[in-house]
Amino acid sequence: MRDGSRPTRRLVRTLMSEPKIKGRFKLRTSALRAYTMLLALIVIWLFFQWATIDQHHPYGLFLGAVNFSKLLQQMAVTGVLAVGMLMVIVCGNIDLSVGAVVGLAGGIAAMTQGWGVAPSLGAAIVVGLLIGAIQGTLVAYVNIPAFIVTLGGLEAWRGVILKLTKGATIPVEHPFFRSLGRDFIDPRIGFGLAIVAVASIAWINLRRNRARQRHGLKVLTVGAIAARILVPSVVIVAFIFLMNKAGGVPIPVIFLLAVALAGAFLTANTTFGRYLYAIGGNPDAARLSGINLRRYILAAFCLMGALAGLASILHTARVGSASPDAGNLMELDAIASCVIGGTSLMGGRGTVFGAVLGALILASLDNGMSLLNVESWAQYVVKGGVLVAAVGFDMFGRRKT
């Protein structure tokens, strides 16, 4: 899953004169990490499902529509931040300030509600973007290490919130604002989106196949194309169906899906994404290949900032108020999501899919342990242990190859 271009990879492999067993094995190892994570997630889910069986829930409570919907709402904010964080980490940087930015942007959105809902939401995103631009400039053009710039940001932006709000918690008054964090989309719209999604998947696959024909590459069999369209379609329809049982897809989850899709496209299918990986993978080689490192690092920080602004809206809306300590430690959850999802803190490695999966694993642990009334100290220990174990497992696997 590393490069998001597996269809092409498979295609060209079939084109190579002599397909070798060894090559096939190598392909598997490169995708191994993604499968391992998925497997870990399923194991975690099955465990909580089993552990939440009681007389009211003979099949378990955890994966039921209501709880699953709640779990996804809980992960939406972290997930959005993780997508931005992934881009910052992939180009070899880090952003420790996102928690404080969530607090500041959320506070500003709450304080500017008098301007009307659109300007106040816009203000949150603009504040995030501006902070990203400032920090990105300091990192890329003034050459201050990102760790330092954003550690400073973590402190400074929190201070700005305290000054602006005078330490008070500001309630969200506007019903539309509130609904962004709490409501669900109409089940019919959910089905409509599912149809659009299925149609898009079919269209993309067919178009790609035609493009292959044009390039003189081998076309896929009808069965292979059908599988490629059907498998994701079934997952999407089942997902919508489950969500609709609990009142519809939660709005924050729609935002997360949109951000994740855009992020996946940006990282895997654009020159921008390719350059981010190149910069993180080997900055010298990237520079000598004509890439303007500074411009792309700045852009990654700006995107991170704007996404932190969006996350602040979702968070403030869900909580129903903006408090001065909102967003505290969220940067660590976002970084942990990326790392659990296979992102290297040295840069150059990681996927949006992995980062969102990491956020899902963290949220599942949180949610499941709360259901089981695990004491909070133990929850911290487990989450910390999972983070270290995920990376340890990765290192172990890498050393062997």
Binding site: D3, S5, P7, T8, R9, L11, V12, R13, L15, M16, K20, K22, G23, K26, L27, S30, R208, A211, R212, H215, G216, L217, N269, T270, T271, F272, R274, Y275, Y277, A278, G281, N282, D284, A285, A286, R287, L288, S289, G290, I291, N292, G348, R349
Partner: protein, 508 residues
């Protein structure tokens, strides 16, 4: 009487390359023994074995000190045998004082607490001994390269070294610093310290050394008393290799001038005022290979880096493409004007080792190949496939990770990357460093084929036979200046090497 040090029949292989093949070398007390040879002759490898960097039994043969065999398992063992190696890249901790560096890891202690007084007085005494006017309290960072080198020597003496190895010690020194160094080395010789002196600069070798050993292709060619030799003889021994048939027949007809660089001057970013390249100019023609010969540190790479807009320090140059002046401030500008640059050290500058062959190949020309913003995987795959076939890249597929390839195939990937930018001028910097003979031959054939197809090629190499075998025209650099210009028929190894060592000058 046994010599102080004897290295007998040393062999050492790296994957695919035999670096040393039965090299013997000996060293007497109070002697300066120079070790010379072209790049890749095996000098550094031999020294690393002596230093314990390549431990026993990774090499064959034996190391004898005063007649008894020593097997170094690590660098520490070698140091215990009182051998000190001063590498080209200095190993001082820049943020520590001179005294702290001298006694690093061996600080005078009492109950585990460092005795600063003894530390500084000890260092002062050593420096006084060498008549060095350096305050032991000075942070090492504040010293020039030359003084740091002298501190390294003081450090070696503090370890009571009886064998000191100096690897290109004067490469970064000014003339007066070289003089100071020589005074000190002569003093050490008088104290019966034995020294191995590695240098490309033959005038230094002749001024300083008692004996000279020439290495070539991992073998000892000769060991003679210095007074029995002259520079021309040493050069002949260094290059005396048949320029065999591994080079393809040149069939290209050179065309008009497509590229010209005038007055390229490059300053050392670490040492302001020191010029790495001094007013160098050259032209490159269509369907021609221009060779740039020169020894390490002659400014070859810096010259190309500066033209390409990738030099970190100050530089000035006038660049003409198709007889029109162009501004090149960063590599993107150079690429835009049709310049490609297969840089030296492919792992550091050329490849993203974690990524696939395909992504490496398309990186520099991505926007042209794939799309301005949205990439087109299929178009990339088609182009990459074609390049992989044209260049005979051996891999399971273009989706193999670049880091898993052999050196030769990695080099071809870097070459493919630049060819995919559709360049009109292609710079090649050490294109065959560290790859085996078969792969070299393939690269040579490619270079010839590219020139035939009309590309202007500028080839930098420290392997003289390579430059002589491939180039239509050769310029020679010595210490940042052009010291010779040859056509293919005029160039002999001896003549080019004489210019490269600064021994002779020659105009075209």
């Amino acid at each position: 009487m046994n010599p102080l040090l004897e290295m007998r029949e040393i062999t050492k292989s790296f994957p695919g390359v035999r670096a040393l093949d039965g090299v013997s070398f000996d060293l007497n007390k109070g002697e300066i023994h120079a070790l010379v040879g072209e790049n890749g002759a095996g000098k550094s490898t031999l020294i690393k074995i002596l230093a314990g960097v390549y431990p026993y039994p990774e090499y064959g043969g034996g190391i004898f000190l005063d007649g008894s065999e020593h097997r170094f398992a690590n660098v520490r063992d070698s140091e215990k045998a009182r051998i000190a190696v001063i590498y080209q890249e200095l190993s001082l901790v820049k943020d520590m004082s001179v005294a702290e560096n001298i006694f690093l890891g061996r600080e005078p202690r009492r109950f585990g607490v460092i005795n600063s007084e003894r530390l500084y007085s000890g260092a002062q005494k050593l420096l006084d001994d060498l008549h060095l006017a350096i305050d032991p309290l000075t942070p090492t960072r504040n010293l020039g390269i030359g003084q740091q080198q002298l501190v390294e020597i003081a450090k070696a003496l503090s370890q009571d070294a009886r064998i000191v190895v100096l690897d290109e010690p004067t490469a970064a020194l000014t003339d007066s610093e070289v003089e100071t160094l020589f005074v000190i080395l002569n003093k050490l010789r008088a104290r019966d310290v034995a020294m191995i002196y590695i240098s490309h600069k033959l005038d230094e070798v002749f001024r300083l050394s008692d004996r000279v050993t020439v290495l070539r292709d991992g073998r000892t060619i000769s060991t003679n008393a210095t007074r029995d030799l002259d520079e021309a003889q040493v050069i002949a021994k260094m290059v005396g290799r048949e320029v065999g048939q591994i080079f393809p027949e040149s069939t290209h007809q050179r065309g008009e001038v497509v590229f010209e660089a005038r007055n390229v001057t490059v300053e050392d970013p670490a040492v302001p005022g020191k010029l790495l390249v001094d007013r160098v100019g050259f032209t490159a023609r269509k369907a021609e290979v221009l060779g740039i010969a020169g020894l390490m540190g002659s400014g070859r790479s810096e010259l190309l880096m500066a033209i390409f807009g990738a030099h970190a320090g100050r530089k000035s140059a006038e660049i003409l493409v198709d007889r029109k002046t162009v501004q090149i401030n960063q590599p993107a500008d150079a690429i835009k004007h049709g310049i490609g640059f297969v840089t030296e050290d492919r792992k550091r500058y050329g490849l993203i080792l974690d990524q696939t062959i395909l992504k490496n190949m398309t990186l520099a020309g991505l926007r042209k190949l794939s799309g301005r913003f949205v990439t087109n995987d299929d178009a990339e795959a088609v182009a990459g496939e074609r390049s992989a076939r044209d260049l005979h890249i051996k891999a399971n597929s273009v989706f193999t990770i670049a880091g898993t390839l052999s050196g030769g195939n990695q080099q071809k990937v870097v070459l493919a990357k630049w060819l995919l930018t559709k360049p009109r001028v292609l710079f090649l910097d050490e294109p065959t460093r560290g790859i085996d003979v078969g792969a070299k031959q393939e690269i040579y054939a490619q270079i010839n084929r590219l020139a035939e197809s009309g590309l202007a090629i500028v080839l930098v190499s420290s392997e003289l036979p390579e430059v002589l075998g491939l180039s239509d025209r050769i310029i020679v650099l010595h210490e940042g200046r052009i010291t010779g210009e040859f056509t293919r028929s005029e160039a002999t190894p001896e003549a080019v090497m004489s210019c490269a060592t600064g021994h002779a000058r020659r105009a075209a």
